[in-house]
C-alpha cells in the first residue's frame, strides 16, 4: 500500500509540514519520524494511530515543542513552533498531577503561571473541574483519587489554559477498559461542547474510531503517514456507537492497515532481540 501525499490546506490551524526527526543512538542514527505532513482543521478531532515504535510519541513531543526536529516545519496559526506554544495544551500519558497540590490548585496551575489573581483563577479552575465531572473533589489531593480521576484532573488542568489545540498522548493508556470507554465519552462530550480542536495520539483503534473525525495511520519505523481515513459517523457520539455496524467496518479497515505495520514491528523487534542474544 502506498502512502498518498497530503497537502496541508490553508484553513488548517495546525500544520505539520515534511517533518523529519532523527536521533543519534549508540547503534547509529534512527529515523523516528520520516517526512510526515498533515494538517489539523479548526474544531476537528484527529487521531494519530500507529504500532509501538512508529514515532507517534516523538511526534507528540515535537508538536508540543518539547523536543526539536531535524527538518521540516510545525506551525500553529501560521507561527512556527520551536518551543512550547501557548496555543497548544498537552495531556501526557504518564501520571502527571502534582501530588502536593489539591485538585483546584492543580487545575489552576497554568493560570497561576500567567499571574491571574487568586479569586479569578479558583473560579476558572472550578469551572473546568465541573466540566470533567469532578465536582465535590475540589479540595482533595491526587493520592485520594483513582487513576481515571487523576487523568481527568490533568485534562482539566490543560483545558484551563484554554489551548487552541488539545494535544493528548495516549491519555487513557494506563486505565482499565471500562474506565477508558467512559472517560472517552467524557472527552467526546467536552470536545463537542467546547468545539475543541483535538489531536489524539493513540494505539487503540476503538478509541480512535469512537472519537475522531479523521484518523491518520502511521507506518512502523521509520514513521511515515500511511493513510488518512475520514470517519463518517454521526455526532454527537457516545461509547454506544462501538456496537454499530459502520463502526465495525472502520475498525476492520484501520486494523487491516495497522496489522501490516504492527507485525512488521514485531518481526523487527524479534530480530533485534535475537541479534542481541547472539552477540552477548
Amino acid at each position: 500500500m502506498t502512502s498518498t501525499p497530503h497537502n496541508p490546506a490553508n484553513t488548517d490551524i495546525l500544520v505539520v509540514d515534511d517533518v523529519v526527526v532523527r536521533f543519534e543512538t549508540q547503534e547509529g542514527p534512527v529515523i523516528a519520524v520520516d517526512h510526515v505532513s498533515f494538517g489539523v482543521r479548526q474544531g476537528e478531532f484527529l487521531s494519530v494511530i500507529g504500532p509501538s515504535g512508529c514515532g507517534k510519541s516523538t511526534l507528540f513531543n515535537v508538536i508540543g515543542g518539547l523536543i526539536g526536529h531535524t527538518s521540516g516545519v510545525v506551525s500553529v496559526g501560521g507561527e512556527t513552533i520551536n518551543s512550547p506554544h501557548q496555543s497548544i495544551g498537552m495531556v501526557f500519558r504518564e501520571e502527571s498531577t502534582f501530588p502536593w497540590r489539591s485538585v483546584t490548585d492543580n487545575v489552576a496551575f497554568p493560570l497561576e503561571l500567567i499571574g491571574m489573581p487568586k479569586a479569578q483563577r479558583i473560579e476558572r479552575a472550578r469551572h473546568f473541574i465541573s466540566l470533567v465531572g469532578l465536582d465535590g473533589f475540589e479540595n482533595r489531593y491526587p493520592n485520594e483519587l483513582s487513576g481515571g480521576m487523576r487523568q481527568r484532573v490533568s485534562l482539566a488542568r490543560t483545558l484551563a489554559s484554554e489551548p487552541k489545540i488539545l494535544l493528548m498522548d495516549e491519555p487513557f493508556a494506563a486505565l482499565d477498559e471500562q474506565t477508558r470507554l467512559l472517560l472517552g465519552d467524557k472527552v467526546l462530550q467536552i470536545q463537542q461542547q467546547l468545539k475543541q480542536t483535538t489531536l489524539l495520539i493513540t494505539h487503540n483503534i476503538t478509541e480512535a474510531v469512537q472519537m475522531s473525525d479523521r484518523i491518520l495511520v502511521m507506518t512502523y519505523r521509520p514513521g511515515k503517514v500511511k493513510r488518512i481515513v475520514d470517519i463518517d459517523l454521526p455526532r454527537p457520539r457516545t461509547s454506544e456507537i462501538v456496537g454499530s455496524e459502520a463502526f465495525g467496518r472502520y475498525v476492520a479497515q484501520i486494523w487491516a492497515d495497522l496489522r501490516e505495520e504492527a507485525s512488521r514491528g514485531m518481526r523487527d523487534e524479534e530480530e533485534h532481540a535475537l541479534h542481541h542474544v547472539s552477540t552477548t
Binding site: L66, E94, S96, F98, W100, P110, L113
Partner: protein
C-alpha cells in the same frame, strides 16, 4: 451484613501500657537505680557519679538563673545561623548539581569526599578567619550542615518525576516558576531529610567548637563546669541539652510528617 456476624470483634480493652513501653520504663528505672547505687557505693572518686538528688538540685539551680538562658540563646543563634547559611547554600548547590549533569560530574565527587571528613579539623582555620567569638562557631556549623543538605538536594533533584518537569515546560513556566512551583515542592521529602541531618551535624559542629575554644555558649558552660569539676552541674546541662536536641529534631520531623499525611 451476613458476613459481619461471623467476624469476631477485636477485644475492646487496650492495655494501658504496651509491652514495649513497659520494657523501656524498666530499662530507664534500672539505669537510674544502678546509677544511684554507684554514687553511694564509694567505689568511684567522689562526684564522678553524683547522686540523682545532686543532679536534680544542680538542674534546678541551672534553670533558675539567667546565665544559662543567655548561653543557650548564644548557641541556638549560632546553630540557627549555621543552618540558615549552610542549608541555603547547600540547597542552591544541590539543585544546580542535580539539574546539570556536567557540573555534577565535575564537582559532586568532592562533596562525597569532603562530606564525611570531620569538620572540626578546620576549626583552627576558622578561628584565624573569624575569631574566637560566635563567628568561628557559625562557620564550623555552616561547614558541617552544608554537605548533607547539598547531597540530599542533588539526589532529590534527580528523583523528580520527569513528566512533572515536562508539564511545567509545556505550560511555559519560567526558570523561577520551575524552581519554586515544581522542583522545590517535588523535592520536599529529601530536602526535609537533608535539613534534619544538617541540623544534627550543625549542632555537633557548633557545640564541639564551643568546647574547644570559646567564651560563651552551652559548650563553653559544659567545659567550664568540667574544668572546675562541678559534675552535678555538668550532668544537668547534658540532660537539658539532650532533651532540647530531641525537641529540635522532632520539630523538623513534624514538618515533614505533616506534609506527608496530607500530600504524600
Amino acid at each position: 451484613m451476613a458476613d459481619t456476624s461471623r467476624v469476631t470483634p477485636l477485644p475492646a480493652s487496650v492495655p494501658v501500657l504496651s509491652p514495649v513501653t513497659l520494657l523501656r520504663l524498666v530499662i530507664i528505672l534500672t539505669v537510674l537505680a544502678v546509677w544511684e547505687f554507684l554514687s553511694h557505693s564509694g567505689w568511684l572518686y567522689r562526684d564522678v557519679v553524683p547522686s540523682l538528688l545532686a543532679i536534680g538540685r544542680a538542674m534546678f539551680d541551672l534553670l533558675a538563673h539567667g546565665e544559662y538562658y543567655f548561653n543557650l540563646a548564644v548557641t541556638a543563634g549560632e546553630v540557627g545561623a549555621a543552618l540558615a547559611i549552610g542549608g541555603s547554600l547547600g540547597l542552591v548547590v544541590g539543585i544546580v548539581l542535580g539539574a546539570n549533569r556536567f557540573l555534577s560530574k565535575a564537582f559532586e565527587s568532592y562533596l562525597y569526599y569532603l562530606g564525611p571528613t570531620p569538620k572540626i579539623i578546620f576549626f583552627p582555620i576558622m578561628i584565624m578567619w573569624f575569631g574566637v567569638g560566635p563567628g568561628s562557631k557559625i562557620a564550623l556549623g555552616t561547614l558541617s550542615c552544608f554537605f548533607p543538605v547539598a547531597l540530599s538536594a542533588a539526589a532529590g533533584m534527580r528523583q523528580i518525576d520527569k513528566v512533572l518537569i515536562r508539564v511545567g515546560n509545556s505550560f511555559r513556566a519560567s526558570t523561577a516558576q520551575m524552581v519554586f512551583k515544581i522542583y522545590l515542592p517535588a523535592m520536599r521529602h529529601p530536602i526535609i531529610n537533608g535539613v534534619r541531618l544538617g541540623l544534627g551535624v550543625a549542632l555537633i559542629g557548633t557545640l564541639l567548637a564551643e568546647t574547644k575554644l570559646s567564651n560563651k555558649g552551652i559548650g563553653f558552660l559544659i567545659i567550664q563546669a568540667y574544668s572546675i569539676f562541678d559534675m552535678p552541674r555538668m550532668y544537668a546541662m547534658l540532660i537539658v541539652l539532650f532533651v532540647l536536641s530531641i525537641g529540635a529534631n522532632s520539630v523538623v520531623g513534624r514538618l515533614g510528617g505533616l506534609d506527608s499525611i496530607k500530600r504524600s
